[in-house]
């Protein structure tokens, strides 16, 4: 039995929540669905921890779905990077679900709760699948599973703007996913395979050795072919929409603002990060850094868009009085830091990008969870109503302040680690202006975070804040678990930075971990 589970581990982590999701709908009852999804989330988390343990013991795992060998069948390729990401997603999923109870009852009508649980599990399935799979078309399918459930989750919001935000996201998201599909099609047309590793090998041999036509060895195509270029463009733009890179970010602020608090916590912590992961896989695994960064100016494009995005979004964040919207703009800025790291395409830069992916997910998850607590007790997410809440809700306010320090990048929090690595990488590449701009942009984060802290602690309490009581224990505890993790990973970096360093080495074509 244990051996059987052990063998099928990669697929079980995805199949378990996938099967549980329709069961939630069939059960129909609120408490039953809640119980089921709690159990399933923790089981999934347990399975992915097991997967990490297995990967660190035996190295890369290659699982063939239905026993069909790649490149004919679908392969699930698990390495330390995506195993860790899967653990993070399922862990975050389980914690946010524990947190969800009171907030969900407040914001979503009880009759719709079982639907929420079903969608939540589906969303998690899609995100986990995108990480696990080694098949390019499978990435598209899982991307759509997670996106479709996210649209529905966002539309559960209280106001009438929620369905509108979900619709706008749906239009943008579908265009992004369809771009991805076009790119996948073009790559398939060129290589005749959908397995990511196999496509990488075929493209590399096409570029360095050429193709054999009728037994005659053709010349190498160093610059790649036009099909390759177009496919690369479609895949990049498609994923940039999903990542909410600066000029393609328009769907994000409304979605995060009008979705129920719980949904925002989970989606903000995971969805865009998984797209960043898919982007890393496609650029480094399929197209190779040489093609993307030396033949094509992807690095220049990425860092210029990132820097503009960081500044525009951070400045926009300062002017928002709706806290959820403020954090949403901050998310757009933070994606910029991740891409900045990736665009440097060296050991330090890529490590910084990956580390920031994890760290920012924790920080933003924690901050949105604090916002959820305030929204429950104050009934508002507007800055004016938060005045003086530091006195009546001390623990939640402290969670906000701690998470905020992480976002700014103060030492001893994990935000500092990623900023430090990013700065080192920029110095190493002699991109001094980039390094300077990064430091200046951190000051903008100080403004939009500290403004809220000041309002919480140093303003005379508003009517709502006077009547408020501390958030329910379960919400406080879970918020503090996440916020505490940002401090833990700021001090103890073996897991985050060490693992990201190994992953970066492998992605850049170095030795295996």
């Amino acid at each position: 039995m244990i051996e059987y589970l052990d063998f099928h581990l990669p697929v079980l982590t995805i199949v378990v929540p996938l099967i549980a999701a329709p069961l939630c709908v069939l059960l129909g009852a609120r408490t039953m669905a809640k119980l089921l999804s709690w159990v399933v989330c923790w089981i999934t988390f347990g399975l992915s921890v097991w997967l990490v343990a297995k990967v660190s013991a035996v190295g890369k795992i290659s699982y063939y779905l239905g026993g069909w060998e790649p490149p004919y069948g679908i392969e699930y390729a698990i390495d330390p990077l995506n195993a860790f990401l899967m653990t993070f997603i399922s862990g975050m999923g389980a914690i946010v679900l524990m947190y969800s109870g009171p907030s969900l009852s407040d914001e979503v009508p009880q009759s719709k709760h079982y639907m929420f649980y079903a969608l939540y599990l589906l969303c998690m399935t899609g995100l986990l699948g995108m990480c696990a799979t080694g098949d390019l078309f499978n990435v598209f399918v899982f991307l759509e599973i997670s996106s479709l459930s996210t649209y529905a989750l966002i539309s559960l919001g209280k106001t009438r703007r929620a369905p509108l935000a979900a619709f706008q996201y749906l239009i943008m998201g579908t265009i992004g996913a369809t771009f991805l599909l076009i790119g996948i099609g073009l790559l398939y047309q060129m290589t005749g395979t959908l397995n990511m590793a196999d496509i990488g090998v075929q493209l590399e041999s096409y570029r360095t050795a050429g193709v054999v036509v009728d037994g005659v060895q053709g010349p190498p195509h160093w610059e790649g072919s036009r099909t390759m270029l177009v496919a690369f463009a479609f895949l990049t733009v498609g994923l940039c929409i999903k990542m909410a890179v600066f000029p393609l970010h328009t769907w994000l602020p409304n979605s995060y603002t009008y979705a129920p608090s719980v949904v925002t916590c989970f989606v903000a912590a995971t969805a865009t990060k998984v797209s960043v992961y898919a982007f890393i896989r496609i650029v480094f695994g399929i197209f190779t850094p040489t093609f993307a960064f030396e033949l094509l100016p992807l690095d220049t494009a990425l860092w210029s868009f990132s820097l503009v995005g960081i500044f525009v979004a951070s400045i926009a964040a300062i002017y928002q009085t709706n806290i959820k919207r403020r954090l949403a703009y901050s998310s757009i800025a933070q994606i910029g830091y991740m891409l900045l790291g990736i665009s440097m395409a060296n050991q330090h830069g890529l490590t910084a990008g990956i580390v920031h992916m994890f760290n920012h997910a924790l920080i933003k998850g924690g901050l949105f969870m604090a916002v959820g607590c305030f929204a429950l007790r104050l009934g508002s997410v507007h800055l004016d109503d938060w005045r003086g809440a530091g006195k009546t809700m001390p623990w939640t306010s402290l969670a906000w302040a701690t998470g905020g320090l992480g976002l700014i990048g103060v030492p001893v929090t994990c935000g500092f680690i990623s900023k430090w690595l990013l700065l080192t990488a920029a110095m190493e590449n002699e991109l001094y202006p980039v390094a300077a701009l990064m430091l200046v942009s951190s000051l903008l984060a100080v403004i939009y975070i500290w403004q809220v802290v000041e309002v919480l602690y140093f303003s005379p309490p508003s009517e709502k804040a006077k009547k408020a009581t501390e958030a329910p224990l379960i919400m406080l505890v879970t918020t503090w678990v996440v916020v505490g993790a940002t401090v833990v990973f700021g001090v103890w970096t073996t897991w985050s930075a060490g693992l990201a360093g190994d992953a970066a080495r492998v992605l850049l074509g170095g030795g295996t971990p």
Binding site: E144, L148, R160, F167, L170, I171, T174, Q189
Partner: protein
């Protein structure tokens, strides 16, 4: 570009035309239903792109032709030595090995045998995977069509979600024109 090239690629012209039409509708139309229609046209163009790339000149649908299947049945009735129909390809392949010794030309089992052979021995080298020429019949590549079945399902799901969102928006706002909705929101 010669006219041959131009007309030879007519599938791709249709694909590009549909793609741009759909994309333009999505960007330019403010009516939500029209946006969804544009999105559908956009997705259909991608379906056509995949089907086009899977097409092999002169190829037929990747299904065993009834004529050959009929021969197989007839053969079974005559020859007790051959395995009955309804086998796994591998079993058929071994059956084929036996029957070849007898001088019987069983096209169906031969086909299965060759397919099995191709799957096990010819994993690399072929520039175009999936082009299978057996028993004089050329088949088109079935994989893009299968992928598109999935993509169509995804498209239907997207349309369904979009339409149900539009229903809710129309209930809440009383209109599905994006301009009017934005104006209403701004007035609040």
């Amino acid at each position: 570009m010669s006219s041959d090239q131009f007309f030879g690629l007519y599938n791709y012209w249709i694909v590009v035309f549909l793609m741009m039409t759909g994309f333009y509708i999505v960007i330019a139309r403010k009516n939500m239903i029209k946006t969804v229609i544009g999105l559908n046209i956009f997705q259909v163009s991608v379906v056509l792109l995949y089907i086009t790339m899977g097409k092999v000149t002169g190829g037929t649908a990747p299904v065993i032709p009834p004529a050959l299947a009929g021969q197989h049945d007839a053969h079974d009735q005559h020859d007790t030595h051959a395995a009955p129909s309804g086998h796994t390809p591998a079993a058929n392949a071994t059956a084929a090995n036996e029957t070849v010794d007898h001088g019987h030309a069983d096209h169906v089992t031969e086909l299965a045998h060759e397919l099995a052979h191709e799957l096990t021995h010819d994993a690399t080298g072929d520039a175009i995977h999936g082009v299978t020429e057996t028993a004089g019949v050329i088949y088109t590549n079935p994989l893009p069509s299968v992928l598109m079945l999935t993509a169509i399902v995804v498209g239907i799901a997207t349309t369904a979600v979009a339409l149900s969102l539009i229903v809710r928006i129309s209930e809440d706002y009383g209109t599905i024109e994006e301009d009017e909705i934005l104006q209403m929101d701004r007035r609040q």
